[in-house]
Assembly symmetry: C2
Homo-oligomer: 382 residues x 2
């Protein structure tokens, strides 16, 4: 009987697969196709189109025209190094995602098709892929923020084995402007990076907390129920203890600065800069990824001059480093539009003899870099 | 200082929003646009296109051609009743999602843009939207399945207030062929339906467990780490106790048939049919949505004849109804390709004098109906 049911289930799947609405449509345009020589062929079916082009970070010079055969347009990349790549077609001027590829990511309001190239275990592409390793769980929870006067959504990764009852250290991981509590999971590949680094023995098991950094909102645009976004009651930074209180009361965590890390990208790097100052001794590890580091916005003064104008902030920085954190890590790409702010940050830290580490790489203000920085920073923690 | 930081954060957001990669692109084609007369205008920018058409359940007769002005093509629907609608453009033969609309859903390998029409609190569209009500949390967990020999991913909704320590009843909610553990959340809008029904006082707070019903897989295609999907060690039905054991050991649940419900769509309706038979007395409420109800696949015999050939199954059904479940609920659309199987199921239940309830509506084997059935079934539980 067991075997019969199983057979029935299989046949049923095959039959129902024919019958269900979505599967009526055949998708015979294979894309992306990974070629033996390390190139990738992208295809789009557009039989009546005049012109098809593609943009993306897997395309030489960033954009290219496709060539047509039998109504299918195609483009083959150069040999690609291990990495997560994105691309998008334009068909006679209209924006088109690859219908053959279910992997897409949304950055604010913009969708790109994505694929991952990996050549060996542990390379950059490998870290971003799903593998048959022990997986952590991901929860989307609503926490109460008395400071902001609302329930707010956040994402929380718990490592494999968390349900066995042990306590774990915590990394708070903050997104940038335009992002939300999904950004580090989707564009940032956080669950994959953590699963893989832990499985490879390169990172300690930890809880990763990914809040929403927009103080006027309760959740990302796909989950928010607010009809109007008002003026927030206070700043996101001031509301941050609400997040830590929720994590403390709902999760089994190891306490103290040795077990608590904070990092973020762009606006979230600015949040990290200010939240760590305002909570000296709370975080043993801080990571500023392409961070927006200013005390005032409407000034052309250098960061050092801003600190001179804000002695209370300078005092907070002094306390932060007096608490002897394990790591104050600054990472930025050479072409990042926030590069100069980070030069000024390093100048200030140098002048004050506050210890930090610095990592500089190619590229600008892009998710490719933030995945790299998370992969590096996570290996330094706890 | 607090105010200063807040201002800086706001300005920073505005600036960073200009600078970040994705936001470079302006999206000035407004779509979908909800008009005062109850129609909706859909637009796609395709300046060089020869022909643009649209398909979807919001389009009269299912498809239409768009008209062009200044490179932007548009179509206005008729007056739409409250509902979740889908659509997709074709530009010179290429499949195109609405670049102006971040709401999309994936059904197996196929993406559609979606929007929701609601006219008043509690209507069908309202139930599927996010509102400013108390929200439940959603977790994606990996449970151990000794029966299938792997860790497998599932989604679990916990109702608002779950973290206060009380125990709740459990609904197991199963997807169809081609679906996965995300299907009921994305296409099914389960979190929104449950949040809203609970907030309206129309459903009891409950835990909703959404497993992956494909026995040869560990997770949906975006989360699976398996390189090869082998022959499963046993049937999904036989492995179902692994799911219930995980829920029992990891969640605060009310026990017993009075507090345990099972339902599913299509293949998941077949799973419900068989799992409830194999576990008589376990589920006090069963829901078969557009269900595939057979004991054997490779036969033209009626269900009654199949039961005659499988007396052990007939005995299981007898025990199921001897346990006096509160509800055995069958729902199907008039145009569903599984309609006849459900006629035979009702004939068998009638003949055996097993009590059930039946709901029949318009339409076929589509998510629109499954959202309706879940909304109705959830109000009958516990």
């Amino acid at each position: 009987m067991k075997r019969l049911y199983f057979l029935a289930a299989l046949l049923l799947m095959a039959f129902a697969a024919q019958a269900q609405q979505a599967i009526f449509e055949r998708r015979d345009t294979r894309s992306p196709q990974f070629n033996d020589d390390g190139t990738v062929t992208l295809r789009v079916k557009a039989p009546d189109a005049q012109k098809v082009s593609v943009i993306g970070d897997c395309i030489e010079n960033g954009h290219a025209d496709l060539t047509q055969q039998d109504g299918v347009w195609s483009y083959t990349t150069g040999v690609l190094a291990p990495e997560l790549y994105n691309y998008r077609f334009y068909v006679d001027g209209a924006e088109v995602q690859d219908a053959g590829n279910i992997e897409r990511s949304r950055d604010v309001r913009s969708f790109m098709s994505i694929f991952i190239v990996s050549k060996e275990e542990g390379d950059r592409g490998y870290l971003y892929q799903n593998h048959n390793v022990e997986h952590g769980d991901v929860a989307h929870v609503w926490y109460d923020s008395p400071a902001l006067g609302m329930k707010r959504r956040m994402s929380i990764y718990t490592p494999p084995g968390y349900d066995q009852g042990k306590a774990y250290p915590v990394l708070y991981l903050l997104h940038g402007a335009g992002g939300d509590e999904e950004a580090w999971l989707t564009l940032g590949r956080t669950a994959q990076i953590m699963d893989n680094l832990i499985a490879l023995g390169k990172a300690k098991p930890m809880i990763v907390v990914m809040p929403n950094g927009n103080a006027s909102d309760d959740a990302g645009p796909l989950e928010s129920g607010l009809k109007q976004k008002g003026q927030p009651k206070t700043s996101y930074e001031e509301s941050f203890p609400d997040i830590m209180n929720y994590v403390k009361s709902h999760y089994k965590i190891k306490k103290g600065a040795d077990n608590t890390a904070l990092c973020g990208l762009s606006m979230g790097g600015g949040h990290t800069f200010r939240i760590s100052m305002q909570n000296a001794g709370t975080f043993g590890y801080m990571g500023l990824f392409s961070a927006a580091v200013r005390l005032e916005w409407n000034t052309r003064k250098s960061l050092e001059e801003q600190f001179a104008d804000h002695p209370e902030a300078a005092e907070q920085m002094k306390k932060l480093f007096a608490a002897k954190p394990h790591l104050y890590w600054i990472a930025i790409g050479k072409d990042d539009f926030l590069f100069q702010q980070n030069v000024e940050l390093r100048q200030y830290l140098d002048k004050m003899q506050y210890p930090y580490e610095y990592y500089e790489n190619e590229g600008g203000h892009i998710w490719r870099n933030w995945r790299i920085y998370l992969s590096m920073f996570a290996q330094r923690l706890f």
